[in-house]
Symmetry: C2
Subunit: 333 residues, 2 copies
């Protein structure tokens, strides 16, 4: 007896239907609308499906419904430790909803990002775009034809989840002020990053509130190496404390300073951001943490809330953050 299966080698609903002498639509309903069927029918279908090792063809399902059972994640650099935990949570949440996840790395290039989104668009129910590098205008035009949720990018009239580091940064500045620091440095991240701009702004505001001077050291990519190099500038600048865009840069600073014989926190205090390091520094980095898992779940939730409905009505969610005291901050000597 030949196994009845499709050209792709896998059993289809037609195969199951034939086995049971029912219509294919009945098999379909057994999976999607079982409440419409007699329980016995559902049971019989599921039994045969199990026996045959049936797995629904998501392509076909998606083609009919006009939207695939998948979502897409678009981000600038998967190798940056900030992103993997987000991906992980998004994937888990989607999985529970029966959705697969596409991943696309734009390498920080806005054009490439747009291309990826355009290509992914028709294959997915929606896209979660993390730390987008595209212009607001471009993003808005995408939102016209696509479900899209932004993480860490604040564009009006779009759905977005933001991690607000301002309060934690204010907290950090307060701490530094209490330790006698009067001159701060901000070691900037990727120039086009929303997080970078908002962190810089928050630091400048908090600094001036305390009557402190804040030097901004911009970088292009926001890389470990750029931060390492900046250790020189930092030493000569007269600043007694530096807040880095993220932990990777803070770490670059730490090692750059160490290489130049500058002690942390004795000579300079260092604060990072994101709490993303898999490993720990010595002394342990003072940094700013947030609930990325919640952020990821929220983004997925917002995206999925609009299953079926045509378009997302824009929502803006802000998540908080917390200063995490490590050993890289100390009093001015």
């Amino acid at each position: 007896m030949r196994r009845s299966e499709s050209s792709s080698g896998r059993p289809t609903i037609v195969a199951i239907a034939a086995r049971l002498n029912v219509a294919p639509s009945t098999v379909s309903r057994a999976f999607n609308r079982p409440e419409l069927l007699h329980p016995d029918t559902v049971a019989a279908v599921k039994a045969v499906a199990e026996e045959l090792g049936y797995v629904p063809n998501q392509l076909a399902r998606g083609l009919v419904s006009g939207r695939a059972n998948a979502i897409g994640i678009v981000l600038p650099d998967i190798a940056n430790p900030f992103f993997p935990p987000l991906i992980r949570s998004i994937q888990r949440t989607s999985q529970e909803a029966g959705l697969s996840v596409f991943i696309a790395d734009s390498d920080g290039d806005p054009e490439r990002e747009r291309e990826l989104i355009d290509n992914l668009g028709p294959q997915v129910h929606g896209i979660i775009n993390i730390s987008s590098r595209m212009s607001s205008t471009a993003l808005r035009s995408i939102a016209d034809s696509q479900n899209i949720v932004l993480i860490n990018r604040d564009v009006a009239d779009m759905s977005r989840i933001l991690v607000d580091t301002a309060p934690a940064i204010a907290q950090a500045v307060e701490l530094l002020a209490s330790l006698g620091h009067r001159r701060l440095a901000y070691v900037g991240g990727p120039s086009v990053s929303w997080s970078n701009m908002s962190r810089r702004k928050a630091l400048l505001a908090a600094g001036s509130a305390h009557g402190m001077r804040v030097d901004v050291h911009a970088t292009e990519l926001g890389s470990y190496d750029e931060a390492w190099q900046l250790a020189d500038v930092l030493r000569d600048s007269g600043a007694t404390a530096a807040i880095a865009f993220d932990d990777v840069m803070a770490h670059g600073l730490l090692n750059g300073l160490a290489a130049r014989g500058i002690r942390v926190p004795a000579d300079v205090s260092i604060i990072g951001c994101d709490d993303t390091l898999t490993t720990k520094t010595q002394p342990e980095l003072t940094t700013i943490t947030s609930d990325l898992d919640a952020t990821a779940r929220e983004a997925t939730r917002v995206l999925l809330a609009h299953r079926g409905r045509s378009r997302l009505s824009p929502t803006r969610t802000v998540h908080g953050s917390l200063l995490l005291r490590g050993g890289t901050v100390g009093p001015v000597s």
Copy 2:
């Protein structure tokens, strides 16, 4: 004038065909087999496509061909820094071939892994399974019905790309021997990992070749924390050098030892593996590096080489590795 578009809101080949008074198949050919068409026709089609903002529906394409224009990556833990660079390279290579990439994190659970593969299977051209935790039997049964390429898992009759760390480990042992070390420790990674088993084996072999004693300290997950804890055991064991399963664990060891006042490399030498840390340790970790980018590209290449053809004929590729001298190795005091 209404824009002619499908129910999904996006222009289709039918819309383009109607605009030009040609058959849909002509439009299809303009994209897929342009050499069959008159150049003018191709140009006209492309112009209208551009104007309408046409993007091919990969779902429909995949449904017809029986295999989607996508591949899947299945791995145990995306948050482990070893994987993102691989994902990145795979995605880039696939992109160039016009394929999208699914990502699925099994959380190290073999059952979950199997489920993910089963679900992804019908949606993709093939799957790259990195550091699989499934049994060889289970993997082979999947290979019966699916294109699948393994990275760092050696199963006969399947396509696999392996990073062989044995030579570099031998090199490391040689170095340690020359520095007077006589007792080594291996700090094991995930118990079911092929890499872990092959590294342990390589170390035991190299150790005995030099007449050294090698203690094996197994862990369950191969985590930073487990390694940190093991610093205690390591101190009491009398070993003067430890090779860790990977850099994350080496780092755990480093910090665990530091917390206990044990100096590296003065008291103990430490060697990591994979060279995956985004940030650097102090002193910089002595580790084993390999060309992950090449590994990823090779895996993708093998998978794509069998586009159209039904099944992969098994290939086994081995990539080398190199000892990278840092500052965590020193002579026995």
